[in-house]
Assembly symmetry: C2
Homo-oligomer: 300 residues x 2
């Protein structure tokens, strides 16, 4: 079954009020914002990725969800499969560094062993406090869709990790994403809706529009690309569907001037669905808008 | 590295005050008790175990940790690997039933895909409120060690699941353990230390004694065995080292009369270490006191 099918069944089970109908990347509990993400070897990271970077990314991907709520980091839980001495020690070194970098104290967790040859499955749960907590569902018709930073760097970094010509900046974007915690704090009180770009700009924008009951039109020509990405030769469409960006995507009223670097990439309107255009011409939707958690598309 | 080695390194990282030095099965956060457990196919459950029962056990093992704190269930998070339609749907059916049984509402979670053939790795995180929260470290010299229910049933149930002659009661103890939530609520205000028996009576008693800076002597003849376990023909030593019992183990002052069914199985004293005796004679410690999360001993 697809993630959407699975979620549809989960929504029929006993739900906590803080689950908000399982429509958001975070839940609320005892005044905290809660998020949890699992990374699977061979799906979300490569077996040959440096363990220090896997540790960093595991933490960063979760903190990115807190950033989208404008929250401060309260602490984290780690569920870790012990398997290989050298890998485990390198992971711990990177993990300790990442905890200090983001001032994210460890609250607890669990360790397990794995059958021989099983891919690693790592789970991290992060708690944030003092959140302004914009949801992804309150964009208004006429709102401008903005995104922080640049898009597509991590997708190109993944291609490089898989053997494409090297670019340290792009590889770092894939392996060591920076959760936009400070940007989230600055934006949260002023925006109508916000989420992080984890699965791809188009897919996540479509989700925000659907959650808000609106249509969204995106201008591919406006998608912000880094110099490194341009030098690498990627297209805006590739960038907008790659995912793993961990930038913040937010909806704000026309005339809003973001207090942090951000680029306007689209506009919400009454209606439903995602449309694309580029320099005034309409563009057909690609078959794949981003990374979806089906049972199919593992990283090779 | 072993679980103990891994924890030793974790303790040197940035810790949250609620982590309590990572010495307990639960942490505290915003007035809540938090626990998280991961179950791995081939390690903690068998690929041929019914998915409904895996769902039940995933929830029950976590709620057992809340029971040991005398907490009420606030809610849970689920991290789930989507892989096989029939298995996923059966899991969801059992999961929904278990949530209702324990009045444990779903707060959120994450779904992932797995590479082909990878064993399932499931994580559940449970939050409890209104806990009296006895730790495992405050047993006193002279305290009596008690245990609720009977011990060894789940270990025998695992052997049955692996092909030993059938006993529905023992198989159910392995597949559908009952977290002692009501018992934990009744005991928590009165005991000095409490934890659940997840890895084996001897191993967990040794951990409680070590955490409390005491020695513990256990009478194998006192270990409570069910009629089904006796009929199955298991020994008290097998029962006390099998694990997966999810009974409550607690230390209380001499003269304490437990308000729930429980059996006195040992006594704490000044000193250190675990000793065994049976009907007045000392018994050598077995090489394996319970289930330890090394990289070695998967369920076949």
């Amino acid at each position: 079954m697809t993630e959407a099918d699975f979620l549809a069944v989960l929504r029929t089970l006993l739900l906590h009020p803080g689950a908000r109908g399982l429509t958001d990347d975070t839940a609320t509990l005892a005044g905290l914002v809660v998020t949890t993400d699992t990374l699977v070897e061979g799906i979300h990271f490569l077996a040959r990725d440096p363990p220090q970077d896997v540790a960093w990314k595991l933490l960063a991907t979760n903190l990115s969800d807190l950033a989208a709520k404008g929250a401060l980091v309260e602490g984290i839980l780690l569920n870790y499969p012990i398997r290989d001495d050298a890998w485990d020690r390198a992971f711990l070194a990177g993990f300790g560094e990442a905890l200090r970098s983001f001032d994210a104290p460890l609250i607890g967790g669990d360790t397990v062993s794995l059958p021989a040859g099983a891919p690693r499955v790592l789970t991290l749960t992060a708690f944030g406090r003092d959140a302004a907590a914009p949801s992804r569902r309150d964009a208004k018709a006429g709102d401008i869709l903005w995104v922080t930073g640049t898009i597509g760097d991590a997708g190109a970094g993944l291609a490089i990790a898989q053997g494409a010509p090297d670019s340290p900046a792009l590889l770092a974007a894939y392996r060591r994403p920076a959760p936009r915690l400070a940007e989230g704090r600055a934006l949260a009180p002023h925006v109508h809706a916000m989420m992080d770009v984890s699965d791809g700009l188009l897919l996540d924008a479509q989700r925000m529009a659907a959650a808000s009951g609106l249509a969204i039109a995106i201008d591919l020509a406006a998608v912000p690309l880094s110099d490194a990405y341009r030098a690498y030769g990627g297209t805006p469409l590739d960038a907008a569907t790659a995912g793993d960006d961990y930038e913040l995507l937010f909806a704000a009223a026309p005339g809003f001037a973001p207090p942090v670097p951000a680029t306007a990439v689209g506009r919400f309107a009454h209606g439903a669905g995602l449309t694309l255009h580029e320099s005034g011409s309409s563009v057909a939707l690609p078959p794949k808008l981003g990374f979806q958690h089906a049972c199919a598309s593992p990283v090779p």
